[in-house]
Amino acid sequence: QIPNISSKVLNLTSIREQSKRDLGEALDSLKGNKAFVMDPKLMGLLNLISDPAFLTSHGVEKRYELKKGRFDTDCKNIIYIVRPQIKYMHYITEHVRQHASENKRKEYAIVFVPRGTILCQRVLEEQGVLGNFVLHEFPLDIVPFDEDVLSLELSSAYREYLLDGDRTSLFYVAKSLMKLQSMFGTIPIVKGKGQCSRLVMDMITRMRKEMGEEVTVPPEIDSLILLDREIDPITPMCSQLTYEGLIDELFGINNNAVLLEDTIVNPPQTPPQSGGQSPPQAPQPPQPGQPVKKVPFPLHSNDKVYSEIRDTNFSVLSSHLNKKAKEIDEYYKKFKTTQSISAIRDHMKKLASYQTDHNSLRIHTCITEKILDITKSPSFLKRLEAEQNLLACVNTEQVEKFIEDSINKKDPFYKVIRMLILYNATCNGLKPKLWDFLKREIIQTYGSEQLITLHNMEKLGLLHKPDAKPTYPQIKKELGLIVEEINEQNPNDIAYTYSGYAPMSIRIIQNAIKPGGWKSIEDLLKLMPGPTFEEIQPLPQGATTNVKSERKPITLVYFIGGVTFSEISALRFLSRQDQANRDFIILTTKLINGESMIDSLLEQQDDDY
């Protein structure tokens, strides 16, 4: 499950090691064997930094998911690990009362991630149970997801600041950067765009001043680009068309894993050991009425087959898989004709790795099959056509019809909103007449609770009235967002990730790393919300620039408010290209897609209780 992340450009293992140490400390806050009760939202994350063996070595006897209602365990010690949410305090209080009334003596501890709040303490105090707990904090912030991807996994960061004016998440963002700088050195050049980025930059500057003496680590990261999601709301609203992006859009990737039917991951028959590739066994049709058992399947770059195809456009998937299959087949065939003992020995050495590849190829073929089934469907193609029309600013009346039909059919609400936001961003807002009409249609179809959702969207500027002057056509033209001739097989531009549309956020980054930096697109950036800045952080004394000449410079890109898998693919594409001549490390508050982004903006009715 845990990806190996030691290789490549930056040694991220140390981040994980520190988190592991911190977790160990938190677990040791209660002596002896214990029950470990986890916030369901943290479970996947904890799996990314520790394995069951590690937990056992710290006395964890049993693991549970924190739920409302009764909680029974034989363990005398109970450790809760939670995000500081009030509803959890109520669940836990209930448990304590239940155990007390049943005369069970237990020891309790609560570990807050990343830190406790006064509000949570107050709730425990009011309930009269605060004294029962040992309180501890586990400052988990940066979680490595892959060799080049890090995330804080704070899903509400964007909403908290822009909608509620709450700066807590931005503080965590600044903290995470301070942590990175303490490990990999002060980052000399910082560029940023957007109000959140500006605030984070100010916080870092202040934190550095307050710290005074700094550790003198030679800087390993050459520059940092901070980018608000607000700058480019367009890209996440488009359907991602890379393999990894599509898996996320269609099945959902959470904490580096996708849930697949058990029959795909663990086929009933043992896979053939030799004799070439066999066609993937069709999964057994599930028994009606019986829920299909789903198991998580890890997706990261340690899977060699996956790392080769994750960033490719879906239209070339089949040929890639085919090539890989032939390669494995060749290997097995050669095995059969091998004669000499030494040749067999050489072969056996590689056998294990080929078998791993073989198995992963089988699973990815199954996933691809499923994806292609969906991408062939008329509803998918129609949606794609509508998106591409909007991006190119053609046939927009047709898209208006599409949205209307979509509401009439009562498509999932987030799909409607997604298209509407895209329409709004590319067609210079919503004309009052159209908006009044669509609003009524939406309210009458999805219920008037959505009035609040729509209001939130307006407040965030995702839906608005027409501006005096449309900005999108100019941005589109000057950044070259639409690329007509695109070669998906051998991509020559990042636009391959969306079959012809180059993600705006990545185009901005492309410009930022040019020698002139922001200057070349200065006027264009003025059209986008929030301030633009470019600063030099003075290095602490004694820290010499020690960038090894044989290594490409590293740029850290921080997406505040989330990043999609396709955008990551586009950045990887730039890393691989010679002209960029640098490696990118991606850090974000959350890995998102259009759906989860809208989700975080929806009114959560029962969040606190």
């Binding site: 059919k409 009562k410 009044d436 179809t445 008037s448 009035l451 009715q605």
Partner: protein, 119 residues
């Protein structure tokens, strides 16, 4: 919007309507703002809808509260009450196009293919 927020969280029917009224009045105060005027109208429709749904619940013993207008129409067609569905359509000025979609969906769910052909 605070009133509206409260209204959706309020389980008690009478109090819920009260909160809706308050939020409607609040919207209406803003005479210049066209958006708020249309919001007021939408809230007014919600009040009307919930009262209607309450009546429906009393007469049919089915649950209706909390459903959107489209869903209410759908349920009425499913439970063979096309007349009330038509009433609702005109009451809330549901466009023909959407109404047909709902009707087609409902009739095909009922396997009433003959009726579907007829219209």
């Amino acid at each position: 919007f605070t009133f509206l927020y409260e209204a959706f969280r309020e389980p008690n029917f009478e109090k819920r309507l009260g909160s809706f009224e308050k939020s409607k009045e609040f919207f209406q105060q803003n005479k210049q703002d066209k958006d708020d005027q249309s919001n007021a109208q939408l809230v007014q429709e919600q009040i009307k809808l919930e009262i209607l749904q309450k009546e429906l619940e009393n007469t049919t013993k089915e649950s209706f509260l909390g459903m959107s207008i489209s869903d209410t129409i759908y349920k009425l067609i499913i439970t063979n009450d096309s007349k009330k569905a038509m009433n609702l359509k005109s009451e809330f000025k549901v466009p023909d196009k959407r109404f047909w979609w709902i009707k087609i969906k409902a009739l095909s769910a009922l396997d009433k293919w003959e009726e579907l052909f007829q219209f």
